[in-house]
Symmetry: C2
Subunit: 375 residues, 2 copies
């Protein structure tokens, strides 16, 4: 980092099927909560970065930078960034660069998605925009299909069983029961996951994060301070088309972003005690643990087995409930992950936490490392 | 500027109805041209910023950062930014911040739009996403309608005549005849503009920039040098809804971005000799000249009257042909404007030029000031 950047405020809406709320309603609520949480006023915000993927298609609303800016009395300069489901992390990265460039001292980042305004079919089609429209879409794949293929290959390579995989969603749901902002606050047993409706073999309904509405906001500042220091912000990119990948069971963008983030923060991986990772599908959580270096290839499930049995591990994983239990309003997720890591570091008195967010089949990845200076 | 940023390479496709080319085709061509023009190799590019507004709707392709990165052998980190028709300038601004933050030393910016793949009706609907979906869209307005209202009010306030307004498009078309990349390279008389089909009274067909395909790319660097130095990069934001504006005949975001750009570059307005301004509709060009301070309110037409009669003025305006003659593949326009200003400063041996790009009814505005160090 070129200078100290602090996470001075966070806020979010509940994620879920918010049928009675519009895109601007949820943005306003998240922004208001973040400003209130920060103790600053609206006028302290120099710039706004909005993360959004789908509003053009679900709400015929582009130009969300201006829409967010309009909510603040002084209409600060604003822009929207997009990297599919990784939009949130990429927006945080853009905000970090704006702060380091000295073009702003305090930046509001808001991630928003209002998915339930469109039919499931339309949302599924729109989400496929995150994949390659010439190389992958014409095969008829949807994202459950892509991650179904990935899970098939992973099981073939590493011998992961259907019963083991079900522990991932079961743990995320158990964690989500404590999160007042989560879409689903219900206990789900591994058996229920295994027996839920098939979606894209071997993935079943309860392996998949849902269609959700919601917004989350972070305020980052070089001028105002808090105990939460952003120690690294890195993004990495892989081929958009999965047909051009060397492997389906590991995402190189995660590995690359993680290596650079650890170098930037100048810490070792094992100092990290809290992780929010991108479990758009259960199989992704296992691959992520391995790509981030928290488990050997094929061994990610060991951490879930331990955590589900209540055994102590040195790493908290998706304490929020992850995408599975919290819901996944796509561009809001990366921003909400950083909000959650901040809360976890404070409440658990831990020093280091990491938010790991990706887009598509990890064609874009963003990693943010947060330090609790009070720990 | 926190450090010297140079425009080291530019490239574009021809703008027009490129029915046989895809989004990736035009991106690849513009990127290839810019890299070739720079004398660098693909591997010199550290990051990619893509400007795009409509590909999700016209091509079901989001995630264009990854798509562009995929075209380079080393897949550098990439993101997409969007601020409607002002996406290009906002992408240049984002790239500038990434360079100033030292997160990159050489950034490729590519603006792309492929509009003719969709029906005119669908494109018009998608473009209305640049306006406020709750406050402006429900009135049934399209952008020709919004700028028709603006022209009505401008004529009422300042007494501009239909015949005078026609000089704007006539001059742009005359300029465009010399531009090999322009969509229309035909002479259009003021009489032809006045007599073209009514679109939104008082605006006629030849007051309106067309639906276009195309891409443009710039390479900005702090490591590699060129005679073209970026002296200022500023963005500003206004309310998305025109219903919330104090006036229809002036755009506050242009004024604000211009004031800050002049301060940043530490120059006087009258040192600027080349302007590319956002003439999405003819009336906008007049308002822009006034907001940028090159003419008093209501007097913008005087510059067009002088230029159309071939009289010498101290300012070249839309020598490329502007959006009217070049075409307006929306997110490509802001990037292409900077390409053109660079070429004009070199060929005319002028020191200072300015690219002025906006989105919607100037709800987002970006201004870039370029200095020719050899002049």
């Amino acid at each position: 980092m070129q200078c100290d950047v602090f996470l001075v405020g966070t806020g979010q809406t509940r994620f879920g099927e918010l049928f009675d709320r519009s895109t601007r309603d949820v943005m306003e609520e998240a922004i208001g909560n973040a400003i209130e949480n920060s103790g600053l006023t609206s006028l302290d915000i120099d710039m706004v970065v909005v993360a959004n993927m789908l509003a053009e298609q679900t709400n015929n609303q582009a130009h969300l930078g201006s829409l967010a800016s309009q909510m603040l009395p002084h209409h600060p300069p604003a822009l929207r960034v997009e990297a599919a489901c990784g939009s949130g992390a990429v927006a945080l990265h853009t905000a970090t660069a704006l702060l380091e460039s000295k073009r702003a001292e305090t930046v509001l980042v808001v991630g928003v998605e209002k998915m339930t305004d469109a039919s499931t079919e339309d949302v599924s089609t729109a989400l496929m925009g995150a994949a390659d429209s010439e190389l992958d879409q014409p095969s008829g794949l949807t994202f459950p299909g892509i991650f179904g293929l990935i899970a098939q290959r992973y099981m073939h390579e590493y011998g992961l069983t259907r019963e083991q995989l079900s522990l991932v969603s079961a743990l995320h749901h158990r964690n989500g029961m404590r999160n007042p902002f989560a879409q689903f606050r219900i206990e789900v047993t591994p058996e229920a996951v295994s027996q839920s409706s098939p979606v894209a073999d071997p993935l079943r309904l309860l392996d998949c994060s849902p269609i959700s509405d919601g917004a989350a906001a972070c305020i980052l500042s070089t001028l105002h301070r808090s105990p939460l220091r952003l120690a690294a912000s890195q993004i990495a990119t892989d081929t958009l088309s999965i047909a051009q990948r060397a492997t389906l069971t590991s995402f190189s963008a995660s590995k690359e972003a993680m290596e650079r983030a650890l170098r930037e923060a100048e810490i070792d991986r094992d100092e990290i005690k809290a992780l929010e990772t991108h479990d758009c599908f259960s199989i992704a959580a296992l691959i992520n643990l391995e790509d981030l270096g928290f488990a050997e290839p094929g061994e990610g499930i060991r951490l879930y087995e331990a955590l589900y049995k209540g055994r102590a591990t040195s790493l908290m994983i998706n304490r929020s409930g992850g995408l599975k239990a919290c819901g996944h309003p796509v561009a809001a997720t990366g921003v909400k992950q950083l909000c959650d890591i901040g809360k976890q570091l404070i409440s658990e008195k831990k020093q280091w936490g990491i938010a790991h967010n990706f887009g598509g089949a990890c064609a874009s990845c963003g990693i943010h490392l947060l330090e609790n200076l009070d720990a």
